[in-house]
Symmetry: C2
C-alpha cells in the first residue's frame, strides 16, 4: 500500500478498502469472508435442513442525529439489510456500544428508543449486547456495532453477486444519494438540509416480497458506502459480466441532484441506507418490479439497467449510458468522498 | 442515575453497568438480553432440532500489545469464551474494526495475524467482517467488535446462572487477576510487568471437556470485567442462592497478590480473560475438576466454594471465608477500578 498508515479512504467502501481486505484479512483463511457478499451463509450440519445468514457492521456516523434518522436507526437498518440481501428471514441482532465518558445519558436514551423502534419495524429481536466506555476525548460519543442472524429455510435459493448472468435486469428500489447528502448538509449546515432526509430504513420486508414474486432473483445488494457505483462494480467483478446502467432510469431527487452539482459529488458514489439493488432474470423482471413498488420504501422502484456479457478482449466493468447517448465508465469510489456517513 | 452523563464506571462490569442495562436496554423488550447469561440461546424452529448460541463483545483495551497477548487475541478469546459458557460448540465469528486515521498498518497486520492464530487455536472460523475508519484523534488506533455463534445439538442441557442449586460446588479453572495486573503494569511501566502475563486464552475446549465429564454442570461463566466478585454475585442473584467462596482455595499468583497489595486492588475484582467458573452438582465435582485439570489452561483448576440456600430473612449474596475463619461480603465492583482492560 502507498501509505504506511490507515487513511480515511480505507473506510470509504471503495477501492482502498477492498485492497485492505484482500491484503490483510485474507490471512484469516475464510472463503465466506472473501466472497464479498454482504452476509455469510452457514450450514448447520446434517441434523438441520436450515442454514443461517450472519453479518456485522459498525456505525460511527456523525452527527448522531440527522434528518430522517439517527445512529441507532442506522445501526439496526444497516445490519438488517445486509442479512436480508442473502434472502434470509432476519431474526436476531446483537448491539455492541462504545460510549465516550461524558456522553449525555439523554442522547443515549433517545438512541436506545430509536434502536428499539427500528427493531420492532423490522420484526427482529435484540438478544445480546455489550457496553464499553472509553475515556473522554475518544470515540465521538457513541459507536454502535450490530451483528445480525437470519434463517434460510430448506431449499431457499443461493443468492449472490456471482449468480448474475447476461440478460438479467437490474432493479433499484428508489432514489439514490439521499442519506449521504442529508448527512453532509447537516454537518455543513447547508440550506437545503431541511428538505433532504436520510433514507435509513429496514428493507427485509421488501426483499421478502421481491423473492416471493421473483423466485429466481440472482442477488440483492444495498448500495451504502461507495454508493450505487461500488455496488454494480462489485457485482460485475463477482459475476464476470458487464453492468450497463441507464442514467435516465435512475431515480434521483431534485434536491439531491442540485446538492451533488453544488458540492461536486457524483451521485452514483453517494451513500444510501434504505435502498436495495436486485438483479433478476428477464422473465421475472415485471413481477419483481411490481413487488418492489408494492412494498414499503419501494414506491419509486425502477429497472435501471441490465447485465451484459464481457466482449472479446475486454474485462468485467460497469457503464452508464447518459441521456445524450454517450457511455461512460462507472468508476468505483477511489479515495474518500465523504467520511463517517454510517 | 446520579450523573446525567456516561462515566467510565458504566463500563466497569460492575453495579453501574448493570444499572445502565436495566434502565436503558430494557426498552428493547428482550428476555434473552436481560437474562444476564453471557450468550443468548436461540431456537431455530420446528424444522431444526439444533439451537444456536449468540454473543457479542467490543474490545477497547490499551495498550494494544501487552505481555501474554494483544487486542486481537483478546477479541477472539473473549467472544469464544462467552459463547462457550452456553455449552455450545463455538463455530463462527464476525470481526468489526474501528480504525483511527493514522493507525500503523504494521500494527494492524500484527493484530490480524493474532486474530487468525487465536481463531485457529479455538477452531472457529471468521466468516464476516466490517471496517470503519474514524478521524485522527478519535478511537485510540483500533477498537474490535467480535460476535460469535455456536451450535447446541438436540438435547444439549440448558446451562445458566439460574440453574445453580444449594449444595453445588464452584470450580475455577486457574489463577485470578493475571490479565488486569498485566495490563495496568504495562500501562504504568511497573517493574513486575515483566513477570505477569495476561491469561487471554480460548476456553471452549476446556468447557467441552468439563461438560463431557460432568453432564449436569449448572453453568459456566468467565470472570472478566468486575472479576470473580461480579461473577459470583451475578450467579447468586440469578439463582436466588448464597455463594460461599474459600479464600484459601482461590489460586492467585504471588506476583499478582503482591501487585494487588501494592496498588490497593481487591484481587477478586480484577479482570481475567482466560479463566472459567463452573458450577456443578456435588456428585460430579471430582469428574469436573479432573477434566478441567486435564484440559489446556486448566492445570491449576480448583474447587473454590459452594452454593448455599438463603437463610431466613436474608437475601442472595456472595461471601468469602478468609484463612482466619472470618466471613466477609464479596461486593460487586461499585465504581471503576481499572478502565479499558478489555
Amino acid at each position: 500500500m502507498t501509505s504506511p498508515n490507515i487513511l480515511l479512504a480505507h473506510g470509504s467502501g471503495g477501492a482502498m478498502m477492498h485492497e485492505l481486505i484482500e491484503s490483510f484479512f485474507a490471512s484469516y483463511g475464510s472463503d465466506e469472508l472473501l466472497r464479498a457478499d454482504d452476509a455469510a451463509v452457514l450450514g448447520l450440519g446434517a441434523t438441520c435442513a436450515s442454514r443461517i445468514a450472519f453479518s456485522t457492521d459498525t456505525f460511527v456516523v456523525t452527527p448522531h442525529f440527522f434528518p430522517g434518522g439517527d445512529i441507532g436507526r442506522l445501526a439496526v437498518c444497516g445490519t438488517v439489510n445486509d442479512v436480508a440481501t442473502s434472502g434470509a428471514e432476519v431474526r436476531w441482532l446483537s448491539v455492541g456500544l462504545v460510549l465516550e465518558e461524558g456522553f449525555a445519558l439523554e442522547d443515549l436514551r433517545r438512541i436506545c428508543v430509536s434502536i428499539a423502534d427500528a427493531a420492532k419495524e423490522a420484526n427482529v429481536k435484540i438478544v445480546t449486547g455489550d457496553t464499553k466506555v472509553v475515556n473522554r476525548g475518544h470515540g465521538d460519543g457513541i459507536y454502535i456495532n450490530t451483528s445480525g442472524i437470519g434463517l434460510l429455510g430448506h431449499g431457499a435459493p443461493v443468492l449472490g453477486g456471482a449468480q448474475c448472468k447476461p440478460g438479467d435486469k437490474v432493479l433499484l428500489s428508489g432514489t439514490i444519494g439521499d442519506h449521504g447528502i442529508a448527512i453532509v448538509s447537516t454537518r455543513e449546515g447547508l440550506r437545503f438540509s431541511t428538505t433532504i432526509q436520510s433514507d435509513a430504513a429496514p428493507l427485509n420486508h421488501l426483499v421478502s416480497a421481491v423473492l416471493a414474486a421473483a423466485p429466481h432473483t440472482r442477488c440483492f445488494r444495498d448500495p451504502t458506502r461507495g454508493g450505487l457505483s461500488s455496488t454494480v462494480n462489485e457485482l460485475s467483478a463477482q459475476s464476470g459480466t458487464v453492468f450497463e446502467i441507464e442514467e435516465a432510469s435512475v431515480p434521483v431527487a431534485d434536491e439531491v441532484r442540485g446538492a451533488c452539482d453544488m458540492l461536486g459529488y457524483d451521485v452514483f458514489q453517494v451513500a444510501n441506507e434504505g435502498k436495495m439493488v436486485a438483479v433478476v432474470p428477464p422473465d421475472e423482471t415485471e413481477a419483481a418490479l411490481a413487488a418492489m413498488r408494492g412494498a414499503r420504501y419501494g414506491e419509486q422502484a425502477a429497472v435501471i439497467g441490465e447485465v451484459c456479457a464481457v466482449s472479446e478482449g475486454s474485462r468485467p466493468a460497469a457503464f452508464v449510458r447518459t441521456a445524450f447517448g454517450s457511455r461512460r465508465v462507472l468508476d468505483m469510489l477511489a479515495g474518500e468522498q465523504l467520511p463517517r456517513i454510517c
